[in-house]
Symmetry: C2
Subunit: 304 residues, 2 copies
């Protein structure tokens, strides 16, 4: 089993204007991300509006996307659920469909339902017992569950499948450095997320993977490869050119950012989120497209 | 269409020790709640561990329970989902299975995903467009979404199906009084919840329904009927006798309280919650059973 590293954009879920899944657009997003040189992709993430989907739609998207990817790159499938047995069953199903890894948040529901450290460990152990692929532990604000480094390291040691960690809370580079220092070999994949907005300090801290949105994958792959070729100064310069659009996605345009650009570039038919996800204001949308044009992003030109 | 009023206990979802649904126990819980004189019941609520179920299990439970109730009392089915179209589809399905009302929280997901007032109104309008039964708007801490009286009244006026309101946030009697005063005839059902712990002041404020757990339904029905027969002093006295167990359920034993007593009384086979829901400590469990014995609750004797 090879170690997963690199730039793994989140695949947005594409809907028609009426809210139905748009599977033709969905396949074109995959082709775009493959052509952009992505090292892998992640589906059914929060940035894919996973919380707006039915169970049946999750399964359909998993099947359709993995069939269409057809081994061109590794696919991470998000399988989080409050219930351990449901998260385990979702993970097994994703693995059977061809997932290279499953991404799992700690158990949570709404504003009030959280569980303690032992239950969190048991939850990941329950998922691990159902699959052979590794687990990417998602340390995300949405779960409202603090996952201190001590707990992450205990998890990596007690549940060996849980050896990838996507850190989105706290100050990611500091937490990555601490996780790597304390966890040692048990930490196979220290990753970041949050649209890759802290990518440079995270690379300095030792990040081996990053999970951005799907707005500028080719440019982030270029930063990644420039960095790993040893030209850190050029990587920093190129990343800082991207920072206005990454920051706009992270702080303003949010979940819909990549779909707005994919629609603008003719890759997908509609940039609709599923109600009640708020649409972008005209100002946020206009600024997003202007920033993408200034960078001549591939998302605007790929469909020709 | 008759107005729904009275004591509507939440039906706990019964699992086997291995986490599978236990439908035989599920049917016995229904028979117990009918024999206890409940005016109606509510299924798939948070107190039913709805957040631990798959979509398929929600549908199976709805079908099995409504078939087993067979019109003996009105059934409220909880159909909340972040996505408006999913909540609407769940509601239509519940109505077709025989639900007398659907209970719907405002859209939310996890610690961070919330929507604004207009989107909340549109969400309920979307559900209302899919069904003919009334909607019980659940104003619950879990949703992490403030629903001020001004919004609830606007909702009742703009979406006539949304005319029942279960208030669990803020100080329920004060909010009920304000809702009734401002909303007038648009508020058909001002209800409370939270294990009926504020039932007496809520009745004084004009509550027409209450949604407790399933620990002491016969005793709460007695309080309800004594109150409505005009003997308020006796109702208060009888309610205050119940307050220790209601308070223990509300503040300590929580979601598992009714299942522990149903198991103790031989009504159901297992009191297991679905992992990772924490089990009760021995002290909390022992105190719960002691409080139930002291009151000679029907849940302990019904199965004979």
């Amino acid at each position: 089993m090879s170690v997963l590293t690199g730039v793994f954009p989140v695949v947005p879920t594409t809907f028609r204007e009426d809210g139905e899944l748009d599977l033709d657009s969905q396949r074109r997003v995959i082709d775009f991300l493959v052509d952009a040189g992505s090292h892998g992709v992640c589906i059914l993430a929060n940035w894919s509006e996973q919380f707006a989907l039915t169970d049946a739609e999750r399964e359909q998207l998993t099947d359709v996307i993995l069939e269409h990817v057809a081994g061109r790159l590794p696919v991470i499938v998000t399988t989080s659920h409050y219930s351990t047995r449901v998260a385990a069953a979702r993970s097994k199903r994703a693995q059977d469909a061809g997932a290279a890894m499953v991404m799992v948040m700690p158990p949570y529901h709404g504003a009030t339902i959280r569980v303690g450290e032992t239950a969190i460990l048991e939850h990941y152990a329950g998922v691990a017992a159902a699959v052979d692929v590794p687990i990417l532990v998602q340390d995300a604000p949405m779960a409202g569950t603090p996952l201190p480094v001590s707990l992450l390291v205990r998890l990596a040691r007690e549940v060996p499948a849980a050896r990838y960690f996507k850190l989105e809370n706290d100050a990611p580079p500091d937490k990555l450095r601490e996780l790597i220092r304390v966890g040692g070999d048990a930490i196979e994949g220290p990753w970041d997320g949050e649209e890759s907005i802290t990518l440079i300090p995270d690379l300095e801290a030792g990040a081996t993977g990053t999970m951005p949105g799907a707005t500028c994958p080719e440019a982030l792959v270029d930063v990644w490869e420039t960095w790993h070729a040893g030209d850190r100064e050029a990587a920093v310069t190129r990343f800082e050119r991207l920072l206005p659009i990454i920051s706009h996605e992270n702080r303003m345009a949010g979940i819909l950012a990549s779909k707005v650009l994919l629609k603008e570039g003719g890759v997908i038919a509609s940039d609709a989120g599923r109600h009640p996800l708020p649409s972008l204001t005209w100002a946020t949308r206009a600024r997003l497209i202007e920033l993408a044009r200034r960078l001549d992003l591939m998302v605007l030109t790929w469909a020709g």
